[in-house]
Symmetry: C2
Subunit: 388 residues, 2 copies
């Protein structure tokens, strides 16, 4: 049982959207395939991986460092002790050999891409959808049947402002989402409040609307927003300031009772631990959004969940960034609080199985073995090209 | 005045050394050249950059993201307001456009490579060695004449143990260094203490010997070492644990009076700020080793120095990792406490001008305009090939 080849390719997921920090007009992701000599139904089993949006393809690191380490390793070093399947934990150690500690950016994305492909592969060899495998391995066989997902977007529409925003949000609600998230910080506070109020007319209560500043604010602005947002009783106030400014996060959390959400720009257990140690996040109130596909994969995410458990945090407070099937399977398999979704954006990597609709704000993972790339025909086209 | 082309190439700096964490057998750096249409002495002026050892070449990020952004920018956006030279601060903003906050690894190395090339270029166009330009711009024209450098190495010599170590250290002292640094953590404590005692016979006092654990220890081991090292009155105890485990750093600092040194694996102002906020580092006792060439370049390092100043830290407590001329010029120009050196390792990128010896533990930067690549003929061979 061995890897025959690992291929990677940068794929554009360009989009005309902007958040308060960056434009997505040049955005790319890495798509990777691990081809093995294991045969199921007469065909070699392959594992598919990709990264979440926001941090670009990692072709250089994957091709220059990670793939060569995997291909140089003796084949049995990548297998479980019984030799019956690949072992994502051993693969992780091999990918990270001769890598110094600290500096958790980019490399964590590259490892995340291949880690996803390993989990896809392992679940396929077991003949199971990933969420069932995860529930069996880590949760005594009890997966969640469906996962809470929320529709993230709420962009700025220069020229058509509130009409454009309301149209977009209505579209998400029509798709079956019952919670939506919108951008703030790209306009003055007063204008952002008008945008928030426009969306609040569409949802049952503030608890069905989250707002996201994408790390843009300084302390004064972040706390000014915190106080202004308080009366709306929102679902959460996301990334008020720089993701590594834990003092700021702490002060903003004290400035209002609105739940905070952050973590999508923390890419290791160590960085997440610093948020928990110094960021003033409240276990009963706040949400954690670390994204396995950007953060050294599920192997590292399991370490993060362990650290959270040691600090008294429930997995239900975790709602990862990502908006794809890998995050969905992890949420269902490990009992997280939910998963982000970007309806219609970052396709074909974003989104869930084509044939499974969102119903009352929840969605089921697909029953296809692995993470379910095969349940998204447009995504399969990319991987068929990459594999051929 | 414009950039004609930017080229980058991965170059091996493989070495048989290991620290407590990684082997350097596959180590690479990025060498980059910025070719302009500015002519001096009948030849186009070029800027040379590279990264310090330890974090690999960044060909992917440099070629896929950073160079295209620089080449797409209108030429005047890269110039100072008078249009008389390139502006490293504006170049930095352009390189970092559409980059999300947080995640400071790898990207910071790529930006560091090109930032170095911009400073080399700017100083050459001004006809000055970089250290004089920095002193003029940021320190009222008062550079240090020479910079404290220490010889870092002190590797493990399987089979010839203390003999190999002593030979190496004697070599550094013979070269003119008066402080040396050795690895610890690659052997049990008792054996490391024997190694330390062997080296202490060669130097005037413990204050001429630093030890480096390369982030390997857990809290219990790190504090056990701290207590065992205390009687030797060493120069410093470097990176006892994971570079992002600020609680550990804090506890180790409390466990003994030996100065701590850390920071080479913190790659942004934000990460350095967290060390200052949470790491328990003492202004009067400890040392900071953030490395501009790995950390978004000198533009970001100036932000880090500003943050340190606001927190009451003197620039004299900063002794950057790096071991090359860029770090030396920054140290002399900005009045840092010194610079690391790896005698004979990581050549031809490591080391200082070939014709300027280390004397009594200090070395002068070269008077060649720029960072002085031209004063290292072996290094110039690489750049001549890259430019041709």
């Amino acid at each position: 049982m061995k890897i025959v080849e690992v291929r990677e390719q940068s794929v554009s997921i360009r989009s005309e959207i902007s958040n308060a920090y960056i434009s997505f007009a040049e955005m790319t992701v890495s798509a990777a395939v691990i081809i093995t000599d294991v045969v199921r139904d007469g065909r070699p089993v392959v594992g598919y991986g990709f990264n979440s949006n926001g941090r670009y393809a990692q072709s250089g690191i994957i091709r220059d460092r990670l793939i060569p380490r995997l291909m140089r390793a003796p084949a049995r070093n990548l297998l479980n002790d019984e030799g019956t399947n690949f072992d994502p934990f051993k693969a992780w150690q091999i990918m990270m050999s001769n890598e110094k500690p600290g500096g958790h950016g980019e490399r964590c994305v590259g490892v995340g891409v291949l880690d996803m492909a390993f989990w896809d592969l392992v679940a396929k060899i077991e003949g199971q959808p990933l969420y069932r495998l995860l529930a069996n391995w880590f949760r005594k066989g009890e997966p969640d049947k469906a996962v809470y997902v929320y529709g993230a977007g709420g962009y700025y529409y220069p020229g058509k402002e509130l009409f454009g925003l309301r149209d977009e949000m209505r579209r998400y609600l029509d798709l079956g989402y019952d919670t939506v998230k919108m951008k703030i910080g790209g306009a003055p506070l007063e204008q952002d409040l008008k945008r928030i109020e426009a969306v609040l007319h569409l949802v049952p209560s503030g608890r069905h609307l989250a707002v996201d500043a994408n790390g843009r604010f300084d302390l004064a602005t972040a706390t000014r927003y915190a106080r202004a947002l308080e009366p709306y009783d929102l679902k959460w106030y996301e990334e008020p300031g720089d993701p590594l400014d834990f003092d700021l996060n702490c002060e903003v959390g004290l400035a209002s009772s609105t739940p905070l959400a952050t973590g999508e720009n923390l890419f290791s257990m160590q960085d997440a631990r610093n948020l928990i140690r110094y960021g003033g996040m409240k276990r009963e109130r706040d949400f954690l959004q670390m994204d396995p596909a950007l953060s050294y994969g599920l192997v590292e995410y399991l370490r993060t969940l362990e650290m959270l458990g040691e600090n008294g945090w429930s997995t239900r407070r975790c709602i990862p960034h990502g908006g794809h099937q890998f995050a969905l399977h992890i949420a269902a398999g490990l009992g997280l609080g939910g998963a982000e979704s970007y309806p219609g954006i970052f396709e074909p990597f974003g989104g869930f199985a084509d044939d499974i609709p969102v119903e009352q704000g929840r969605v089921r993972p697909s029953e296809t073995p692995g993470i379910g790339v095969e349940a998204k025909p447009e995504l399969m086209k990319i991987y068929e090209q990459l594999s051929s």
